[in-house]
Amino acid sequence: MEKCGLYLGCNIPFKAPDIEQSLRQVFPPLGVEVVDLPGASCCPAWGTAPSFDIDTWLALSARNIALAEKQGVDVMTGCNSCFGVLSEAKHVIDASAAKKDVVNEKLATIDSAYAGSSKIYHIGHILHEKIGTEKIKKNLRYSLDGLTAAVQPGCHLLWPTKSMEVTEENPFFPTMLSDLCGALGLRAPTYSNIEACCGMGAMRSTDQEKSFILAKEKLVRMKEELNPDMIVTTCSSCYLQLDGAQKIFRDRGEIDFEIPVFYYTQLLALCMGADPAEVACISDTPRAAIIAEIQSEQRRMK
């Protein structure tokens, strides 16, 4: 079985551990052994070291990557931001021997070293490129035939292509997540602003109301263009925004619809028969009804 280092980041283990559970449950049956990276820290988030000092950022990222290197595995992240930070850091370090020396000098003070041997993947890439939709299909117990999803791949999964291990054929019109949804029987058509930012992360912490302009635009267009049964994302930040902000908009009377939001592996785990109490039980926008529908008897596959 192929091994891959699961890099958790912050949002998933602390705010959405049901996503962590789903990650831990879906990969082994699909042939990927999940290896923990004990002692891993924050990637570090864009608003921390990268906003203060380049070399400090690179050293902290390299320390995380080195944890995987030591075990001889590649890194997979569930959080788009972590994916972006780690990919970019690796790209910068690998491009310059001098940078690599600077980083390793810093790492030497903590008995660590960066070689550049581990690649950085997003879990979406592992699912789409390494496992593949065919294998996913073979492991399903429930089919989502007839349901429609609006997908949100998330910015850091699309750009900048120059520093990413795996890229979309056309990042402005992404298709990987739609393909992955298709494997579950789910219809996931594109929509006009599929590539747009949800406003989470730095923007939300800087000015929540401005960030909500983007989130609402996104939700409204999903609703108007697709009228989806659910939103599916591979970004934990997008997940938190589209789920949480949606409730705030409803509470304020700014929207009158309710679209349950799933992180892709949550949905995959449900389709593989996982217990919703473990893999999909924390959300602001209610999901019970759609989960019941998903795991209903008539959706069970023969």
Binding site: C10, P17, Q21, P38, P44, A59, M203, T206
Partner: protein, 171 residues
């Protein structure tokens, strides 16, 4: 805004600084506007998005914009990097300016919180609820990260103590 007398602006100094902090593309920008048209920061209505920041720097602004929080709204989506026809890497210019701001401590208090979280536990984002939530889904109270790992925390503290960030007294 009163009229700006360009002859009284010191453009070289701030451009030099931005270049040193990693935004060397700032001099290549032709102000085409491509980045602005797709920038979430611009869409959300912040005044100092990529193109605008670059122009202000090219014009010699520094102190006038030092306290503007727009740069901190940049989500580093890097879409601007992908569409810029001149290889400016606008994200890098924004981050270079952020670094200038950060070194002058022109940052929000919530941001300061993230820095000390990072220093203490190795995580910028923490949640008081997390233990409860983790147990609820059947996971151990703590993830196998630095959050509960003193050796890892020490390592991170060593790296941060030996960085210019330590001089700012934010930990």
């Amino acid at each position: 805004m009163p009229t700006v007398n360009l002859t009284q602006m010191n453009t070289h100094e701030i451009i030099q600084k931005v270049v040193e902090f990693g935004g060397d593309g700032v001099v290549k920008c032709i102000q085409c506007g491509a980045c602005a048209s797709i920038c979430p920061v611009s869409h959300a209505g912040f005044p100092l998005f990529c193109k605008q920041l670059i122009r202000k720097v090219q014009t010699g602004y520094e102190e006038e914009i030092l306290d503007d929080p727009s740069t901190w709204a940049c989500v580093a989506c890097n879409r601007c990097v992908e569409v810029c026809p001149r290889g400016v890497n606008p994200t890098e210019v924004i981050f270079a300016f952020r670094r200038i701001q950060a070194n002058e401590l022109a940052i929000s208090t919530s941001s300061l919180m993230s820095q000390s979280n990072l220093y203490e536990k190795g995580h910028a984002v923490l949640s008081g609820e997390s233990k409860k939530l983790r147990v609820k889904v059947g996971l151990p109270e703590n993830p196998p990260t630095s959050v509960n790992d003193e050796k890892a925390q020490k390592e991170i503290q060593t790296l941060l103590d030996n960085s210019p960030m330590a001089d700012l007294g934010i930990f």
